[in-house]
Symmetry: C2
Subunit: 276 residues, 2 copies
């Protein structure tokens, strides 16, 4: 999916919500465990319920890998289901991969050719040749970790480098702009980082930001919009646990839809506020 299509979807659906499919077999409603593929059954119901309110889905690979081949099958089925039934949804494989060139090329092939997702999250530590193999696919995206939502983000991402006088995450933002442009790269910036969004926007005014950390992690949507929104919205805000596990009864999908709808309504207010 290209940038224009993504922006068009946001304008049309009045939402920039991404639902994070962190599907944990230990947390899904008990009645689904009788299904042949409980993970896929959960995802399908969840997707059908929330699709009107979001523009993206983000399966987190860790949750699927933890179940071995069964999990991998559920992941593949989820992607196929989205592709067939909801082709307008932007699909992010939250994988945080990154390796030497020939290995990153294998990961890129997996996610973009085999799986046909729209975007993959990539970790920047190994530098240019660990990222560029993901950039060779038309209409596909790298979402590079910049300033993450967790406590450990302070350990290295905020270290100031002598060479530039800036934090590591800013060096990542700047340097990576030489590898790809705003039509093929986005950045992860955690909702818990507050006013750091101002700093981020000084460096990458046009790029989309993938924003985890509202909901269970405590970030504020309003604050993210105040400091992070640009004239094309430029934000994809993720919520996982707060939507997925809002209810554990047979009504789980209905309650998830309510939660997603509530977030969408807040997002609509923000989009209106900034004239988008």
């Amino acid at each position: 999916m290209n940038r224009e299509q993504l922006i068009e979807n946001i304008r049309k659906k009045r939402s920039f919500l991404c639902v994070g499919l962190d599907t944990d077999v230990k947390k899904i409603p008990a009645h689904l465990l009788q299904e042949e593929d409980p993970i896929f059954a959960f995802n399908r119901a969840l997707i059908d319920a929330t699709a009107p309110y979001c523009i993206a889905y983000k399966p987190n690979l860790a949750f699927y890998e933890s179940m071995g081949t069964k999990g991998w099958t559920a992941f593949e089925k989820t992607i196929s289901y989205l592709r067939e039934k909801y082709p307008e949804q932007f699909i992010i494989a939250d994988a945080k991969r990154g390796d030497i060139g020939n290995t990153s090329a294998m990961y890129a092939r997996t996610f973009f050719e085999e799986m046909d997702v729209d975007a993959v999250t990539v970790a920047p530590y190994m530098g240019e040749d660990s990222v560029t193999p993901f950039l060779g696919y038309d209409g596909k995206w790298v979402i590079l970790l910049a300033l993450t939502s967790n406590k450990g983000s302070h350990d290295f991402q905020l270290l100031t480098s002598e060479e530039s006088g800036e934090s590591l995450y800013k060096t990542v933002l700047k340097k990576s702009q030489m590898w790809g442009n705003a039509n093929q790269m986005m950045y992860v910036v955690g909702a818990t980082q507050g006013r750091a969004f101002e700093e981020v926007r000084r460096i990458v005014p046009d790029h989309f930001l993938l924003v985890p950390g509202i909901g269970a992690q405590g970030g504020s949507l309003e604050e993210v919009c105040r400091y992070g929104m640009n004239k094309s919205c430029g934000l994809i805000v993720n919520s996982s646990r707060a939507i997925l596990y809002a209810d554990s009864s047979e009504r789980f999908a209905e309650v998830a839809a309510q939660k997603a709808h509530e977030v969408q309504q807040q997002m609509e207010i923000e989009l209106n506020k900034y004239g988008i």
Copy 2:
């Protein structure tokens, strides 16, 4: 596997070779493609041929993921085969994972409980809570990326931080020592980094280092040993392509064994040289 067992294996086998199982279906000998599971057939033959000369195997997850459920099955079968037939081999899942705490915990569960590998490579960018969930398993190891073997290692790993006056990779080495000790952590330091091993050893004199980059990537075993070896050896040196794809005929396993044997003989010279 604990540290003492690993050191004992190195002393006994006169080798600190790790064979990297970067098994690519496009590169394996053509006659194996008739097998039901060509990837596993290749790995099994390769392992049987090289096991006398190495102390570790390192399947690179990218290569298995790129084949979806089939690849994942081949990976699982490879681990089981190693566990049953070669229980003295140290198994490293080269995954370069790292995510927020609850997600890293899922990855840790996958690799240490489901797969029962000995070690996982982990990327440090997201900091403490992305690493520590991997440290809660007795006899299991985190191998943290420090100074990698690729060209892109210069992009961020060598940036000097104002706070410490040291390169990022040194800050990673220092800070991570507060999270775990030499009985549960190792570090990736690329063979292509030459004298940087001296610097590394000043900070982590006792830790094992996982060293990729000899062979196809051009690093020198002798140099790595001169600057990186400690009194318990402290090195696990990986070779992948130079062993796996040394021959593409039906004799591939035999030739791989020869290549592994040659490396083992060089390693024996180094171990003798340093009185280990």
